[in-house]
């Protein structure tokens, strides 16, 4: 018990939670935007991979860190556009297109990585983002290490939460995206383009997802590995529902998940002798399901989620 308290009070635990949460924040925001517009994007897992690979590759080829971030976002946007074309004007099954995009994005990433680097014995490394050392702030007790010794990408993620919230709730664009996810006819009848809004949202959301992947290779680590995304994208799909499609709650959900993961490695180290380590690994997933069960009835789904819309057919 003491141990648990110690862990929860330690700043390094909270710093780790935020660090682990960062890719999830990007991913869940991206998924949120897509779903708000009425399109489920199961391509997220593959888009994470492509973001991780392309961002890293760009830096490795000398593009600079922010150049890498841009490349990752563009790569994510590209696969997002593919998903958008398949699911919006063509109205194909969002499940299948999404799984197809995941398979496609993943295999393209792996194949190009291997074709570019056919004979490496250990993965080449880049100089990743370093923790920002904000002069006075990083010396603050507690908040200093937790908030102000993170890398720029973590800050970008937090900034994105605010930005997505603002756009969704305070701009005409956000209102239109919410409308198109609820009832595309409402948008069509007011002279806005359903296709444009939906495709734009998917492309933008996918670009954000790719940043989640880029974080893995450019901040959390400094090299690209096969299989390194390891289900993080799927977790975001669950977190969006937990978050009831709200950016603020999305941040909360990602942080909670990060905290459980951070706690898990700490507890496992302490109690590994008593309980199979896998129990701890399961905890975040089980908690996600419980959270989902508790919030499901009150969650108001974007009503048009999964439903394709065709112009001139009603």
């Amino acid at each position: 018990m003491m141990d648990l308290l110690n862990i929860l009070l330690s700043e390094s635990f909270w710093a780790a939670s935020l660090r682990i949460a960062t890719p999830l924040i990007f991913g869940v925001l991206g998924a949120l935007i897509c779903e708000r517009a009425g399109v489920l994007n199961l391509g997220i897992e593959g888009i994470f991979v492509v973001g991780a690979m392309s961002g890293w590759m760009a830096v490795w080829l000398g593009a600079g860190l922010w150049g890498g971030v841009l490349v990752a976002a563009l790569a994510g946007a590209f696969f997002g556009l593919l998903h958008a074309i398949l699911t919006v004007p063509l109205g194909l099954s969002q499940h299948v297109s999404g799984l197809g995009i995941t398979l496609f994005a993943t295999s393209v990433s792996y194949f190009s990585y291997r074709t570019a680097l056919p004979n490496v014995s250990s993965p080449p490394r880049i100089e990743p983002f370093q923790p920002l050392d904000v002069p006075i702030l990083s010396d603050l007790p507690f908040l200093g290490p937790v908030l102000f010794q993170q890398t720029a990408l973590t800050w970008l993620a937090l900034l994105m939460v605010a930005l997505v919230w603002y756009v969704m709730n305070r701009t005409a664009l956000g209102v239109a995206i919410q409308a198109v996810g609820d009832n595309p006819d409402s948008v069509d009848a007011q002279g806005l383009s359903v296709y444009g809004l939906r495709m734009g949202a998917i492309v933008a959301g996918s670009a954000l997802m790719a940043l989640g992947g880029a974080f893995l290779t450019m901040s959390a680590f400094d090299a690209f590995f096969f299989g390194m995304v390891n289900g993080r994208g799927w977790v975001c799909i669950a977190l969006v529902i937990f978050a009831s499609w709200r950016p603020g709650k999305a941040l909360l959900g990602a942080l909670l998940f990060g905290a459980f993961d951070a706690l898990q490695v700490r507890l496992q180290a302490e109690m590994g002798a008593l309980v199979p380590g896998q129990i701890f690994l399961m905890v975040p997933y089980i908690l996600s399901i419980i959270a989902l069960v508790l919030t499901a009835r009150s969650a108001d789904y974007p009503r048009a989620l999964l439903t394709p819309w065709f112009k001139g057919q009603r």
Binding site: T171, L173, D182, D185, S186, L192
Partner: protein, 505 residues
């Protein structure tokens, strides 16, 4: 009223697959005029208006709209944006509202540039409040639209059009879901606005409204315009003849002595999240040879009552008796077995499985019947033969019994449901909004069938927001208000209308 033309449709045609929905239709609209567009279900009214508004691209024809200077200019087709810019506002047959947004957001949607970094909600609100003050069409602006009543939604739809400075307003069956009082208020408001130069095209199946509020009438039949007349020169018979090409028989209700009770609700209470699905301590009896009309403003518990009778809602308190039998565990299947025939309110959503065939929809309530299945396998030949016989008997027209049910027109879907319900001579019939959206001919057919069932000895619960329909069909009329039933002991239109509104009569 001036003779100034504000809108001209020239030879518009539109084909959907094999259906010629509009065939060379021309129409003119004058400033300050209310033009009623009439026609049977599927005559092509909505299609014509959708071409005007840019939802559909015509196969042929042009549209001209007067600008603010009064000069007619061609309208680029196929772009709602262009129609909106030209001052055309449209209220669609089905609501086009985002339910997760409030009225303010729904109204301003599309009017602000999407690139803008901030919104000016203050001046938007002022403008809307100004329109509300002028038009008398009010609705709560801050509540998610999903929580508004249909009447309020309808007003939000019109506010949307007016907010975009519409000079030409198209209303596609705006009163299909409104009570007579709501409809009257709506038209009074619209009339007032025409005096300021608004021109209106409205589509309706309710001749009473058409005769009371329009200046001119245009009639479509099978996609062609078959006539125009000044409302002053028209009467019901003339309009009906023009629409159908023949006289429609009037339905007449003969007096009949009620028989034994077929449905008894005793102290039935259904808790609900909104007034719409709440019932409080309802007690009522329906007899054989009796049509019991339930009148009321929508959202006062009609759905809850219908759900109880059709077995979809289980009351928290109270008992249900069908005939002699007390229903211990209500459920849709139990109710069907007990001899209750149910005509649901929303035929597309609850009445049929659109993706399944007409024949399958005809047997969907009786899957355990030996005529439908043997040892768990469908008797497909028998089902088909049965469906064809039924389609003939009830005049269900469409592309055949093997076609998907969704391909049928609204009126024919309703006939399919009638066939399914009446075939088994139910002792109680629940008819919930049975003629909503149906044209005169189809509505008359429904009325005739209900009266037939009554003559045979069935009891009928007729829930309808169309007071005229209740008045003409029901033997006894109850008013539903706030989840409770009140007996009116009368057939007086005025008095019942007041009771519906909650005023002591």
């Amino acid at each position: 009223m001036t003779d100034h033309t504000v809108l001209r449709l020239n030879g518009l045609s539109k084909r959907f697959g094999t259906v010629l929905a509009n065939d060379d239709v021309s129409l003119a609209l004058h400033r300050g005029e209310v033009l009623a567009l009439l026609g049977e279900n599927g005559a092509g009214k909505t299609t014509l208006m959708n071409m005007l508004f840019g939802h559909y691209l015509p196969d042929a024809g042009t549209v001209q709209v007067a600008g603010p200077d009064g000069v007619l200019a061609p309208l680029p087709l196929g772009h709602p944006q262009a129609a909106l810019a030209a001052g055309i506002g449209m209220v669609h047959q089905h609501f086009t509202l985002a339910e997760n947004l409030n009225a303010l957001d729904n109204i301003t949607l599309g009017s602000e540039p999407l690139r803008a970094l901030r919104r000016d909600r203050k001046s938007a609100r002022q403008k809307i409040e100004g329109i509300i003050a002028r038009s008398g069409l009010s609705a709560p602006l801050n509540v998610p639209v999903g929580r508004l009543s249909v009447g309020e939604c309808q007003r939000v739809e019109i506010l949307k059009a007016l907010y975009r400075d519409a000079r030409i307003l198209v209303l596609d069956e705006p009163t299909a879901v409104l009570t007579p009082q709501e409809a009257d208020t709506l038209f009074d408001n619209i009339k007032a606005m025409t005096r300021d130069g608004l021109s209106v095209i409205f589509i309706s199946h309710k001749l009473r409204e058409v005769l009371a509020f329009s200046d001119r009438i245009a009639v479509l039949r099978h996609g062609r315009k078959v006539g125009e007349m000044a409302t002053a020169d028209a009467d019901e018979g003339a309009i009906a003849r023009m629409m159908v090409g023949a006289d429609t028989p009037k339905v007449a209700r003969e007096a009949m002595a009620p028989g034994a009770p077929v449905l008894q609700l005793q102290g039935v209470t259904v808790p609900g999240r909104s007034p719409r699905d709440t019932l409080t301590d309802v007690t009522m009896t329906v007899h054989a040879h009796e049509i019991l009309g339930i009148a009321g403003i929508s959202g006062n518990g009609q759905s809850a009552l219908a759900r109880v009778i059709s077995g979809l809602a289980v009351p928290q308190n109270g008992t249900i008796r069908v005939g002699e039998e007390q229903i211990a565990r209500p459920g849709p299947a139990t109710m069907v077995r007990a001899g209750v025939g149910r005509i649901p309110e929303d035929r597309h959503h609850e009445g049929i499985v659109g993706a399944m065939s007409v024949a399958e929809n005809m047997v969907i309530e009786r899957l355990d019947d030996p005529s439908v299945q043997a040892r768990g396998l469908l008797r497909r030949g028998a089902i088909r033969a049965h469906a064809e016989a039924l389609a003939r008997a009830y005049d269900v027209r469409g592309p055949g019994v093997d076609a998907r049910a969704r391909l049928l027109s609204g009126g024919n879907i309703q006939k399919l449901i009638l066939a399914r319900v009446f075939e088994h001579a139910p002792r109680l019939i629940l008819a919930n909004q049975p003629t909503r959206g149906l044209d005169m001919g189809a509505a008359a057919e429904v009325g005739r069938r209900l009266l037939q069932a009554r003559a045979r000895g069935a009891g009928v619960v007729l829930i309808s927001e169309d007071l005229d329909e209740v008045l003409s069909l029901a033997d006894r009329i109850l008013v539903i208000r706030d989840g409770q039933l009140v007996d009116t002991h009368s057939h007086d239109r005025e008095r019942i209308g007041l009771m519906m509104a909650g005023e002591p009569a």
